[in-house]
Amino acid sequence: MIQSTLAILASKSASFILKKGFKKGTSLPGKIASKICPDIMRHVSKRVKIVLITGTNGKTTTTSMVYHMADKTKVPAFSNISGANMEWGIITSFIDHYRFFKKEEKTAIIEIDEANVPLICRYVKPDIICITNLFRDQLDRYGEVYTTLEKIMKGVAYHQDTLLILNGDEPLLGHLDCPNPKRYYGFNVSYDQDQQIEMNTDAKHCIVCKHPYDYDFVTYNHLGKYHCPNCGYERPALDDAVEAILEMKPYGSKVIINKEEYTISQAGLYNIYNALCAYSIGEALAIDHTIIKDVLENQESRFGRQEVIQLEDKKMTIFLVKNPAGFNQTIDTIALDQEPFTCLFMLNDRYADGTDVSWIYDVHLENLAKLPIKEYIIGGIRAYDMAVRLKIATGKSDHLNVYEDYEAITKAVLAAPTPHVYATLTYTAMLEYRKYLENAGYIKDYWR
């Protein structure tokens, strides 16, 4: 008890100093606390209802949606959406919200990196663990999708009565070997009935018998209504389903979920999945539908997730791109726009971006050739790799403009022939370019 109190105090002091001095929290306070008291999570999570959200794509947006829902209920909620999603970052977030003398119920909506699920679950029992999807990610860091799933399930195995909320359209999640109660969400319709399973994706073969799946429809990547014609493994029955897609526009979508109409302010099919996932968690938390509706309709973009930045007379929409599935969804979302536009691409190869840039060849950049793109602006540490990729995708190179620094890129954006610029940036490119725009006085409030 003394040890945990000391750990919390040390961590809170570190957090206070870091926030005062550097305007931002880090995972250092959590690190300090867990060095002093390894099971600190046990102490700071008392009376906290915990929801963990993991999976390759959609974690940040879904966590943000659910947090805003939970925050509108009578029980106070907190989240790590502005912080780090690994063990120490999560501990930091719990300690920041820990009060020594105020014993109240809380809800924690936590985004968690896949590999960190067991590290948190060994100390605390989450009420809900949600898995959004499992796509090929940066292979230099994460390894194979099957390995990623194993890591998550190692965490799940600590708590057999934690509710699992799972993407039912994800074939890797329909046959989990665990007794936990499960709630599945998915699509009962497809936006594009002609969408075929892509040859160049993972997990197209039955996890039970290795035979290729048949799909009634594919929503995107390997998600959809699947079944195995060989052994009979099939998509589980859905508890929460998108029953109709009424509208998909560059500014948002309208759908029917479980017989009710919802407006989703974040564009793109992948955001319908995020909204559906948030809905499903909201249902499990017994959150009122009027709150769910309100949040989905007014959800503001998160850091780099369709975030709009005004650069003089240019409107720039920033998409963070991390892996092929996400980049493909970004292209499909940009393609909803009928007006001519400019595209900015920035490819970095730092650790957080993935040091192997090969993955851009798993992205359907060929689809860009059909869009009304008036200019291509290319930058980043691996700008020329991106230029080669775009040359192969579009069949020519004279329209591709490479710039080697942020100033030149910004000049090109300001001189773009269209009012709207879509920017697809890898993680550190987004952080660094935002920082540049802030220092150059184009935008304010870099942090959060």
Partner: protein
């Protein structure tokens, strides 16, 4: 002129963006007015050595690779061996490169039989090499990215190049990849041809020469490719 490219198991052995090599071969051939027909050959499909001018063999994840290995042995091994021995063009990367050998040791010490097309073998390594890779072949460099734990020994076959930065075949003998007749095996992803267009042209020309006799190529504008390559050389080969 036309080229028939066989892409082996594109639905299963498709990690690390290696499909880019197919896209780049198509692009570079098309610019020279050569038609390219890609044959996607997977489980249960016959391998027709006479039909193909170039065979591309990539790597995959363990789950997918386990699906492939049975089919290779049952349905394709002899035909692929024949194709290679006939001196036709084959390019194998990473997992595909390992599978061409006599055997490879899996991460859990299982000895997995290879196709025995090349006289090479792959031992289990104690760490995974995940980094940019630069090799030198005579007066030029090939660059890419490697991600493997196997240590491959090529038993006196000619390597594709000498390692200048990175791990290569096994981290010990400074060799990377191998050449046997018109077959090339390598650990270079990136994809391989994206920053090594000269190697892509060499392969396209070998295939065309075998089919049509002496063929000549007009050069292409490779400014982006060479700048992308130079960026890696500048970063890692600082003298």
């Amino acid at each position: 002129m036309e080229l028939h490219i066989c892409h082996l198991y594109p639905d299963l052995l498709n990690s690390y963006g290696d499909i880019g090599n197919i896209l780049i071969m198509k692009h570079r051939a098309k610019k020279r007015g050569i038609e390219v027909i890609v044959h996607n050959i997977t489980i249960n499909d016959p391998f027709e050595p006479d039909l193909y001018d170039i065979v591309f063999f990539g790597g995959g994840q363990d789950f997918e690779q386990s699906i492939v290995s049975a089919d290779l042995k049952e349905n394709k091994r002899d035909a692929i061996k024949q194709y290679v021995e006939d001196g036709k063009v084959l390019i194998a990367i990473c997992g595909g490169y390992q599978l061409l050998g006599k055997y490879y040791m899996s991460a859990n010490d299982e000895k997995l039989e290879g196709l025995d097309v090349l006289d090479i073998y792959t031992e289990k390594g104690d760490h995974r090499a995940i980094n940019n890779l630069i090799i030198q072949d005579q007066d030029h460099y090939y660059v890419g990215f490697e991600n493997h734990s196997g240590k491959t020994h090529i038993n006196g076959l000619t390597p594709l190049g000498t390692v200048k930065y990175g791990f290569g075949n096994n981290g010990d003998d400074q060799q990377e990849g191998c050449r046997y007749k018109n077959t090339i095996g390598t650990y270079l992803h990136g994809p391989l041809f994206s920053k090594n267009p000269e190697l892509c042209d060499e392969i396209l020309l070998s295939a065309l020469n075998l089919k049509y006799g002496e063929v000549e190529f007009s050069p292409l504008d490779d400014t982006f490719e060479m700048k992308a390559k130079q960026a890696i050389l500048d970063r890692y080969l600082k003298s």
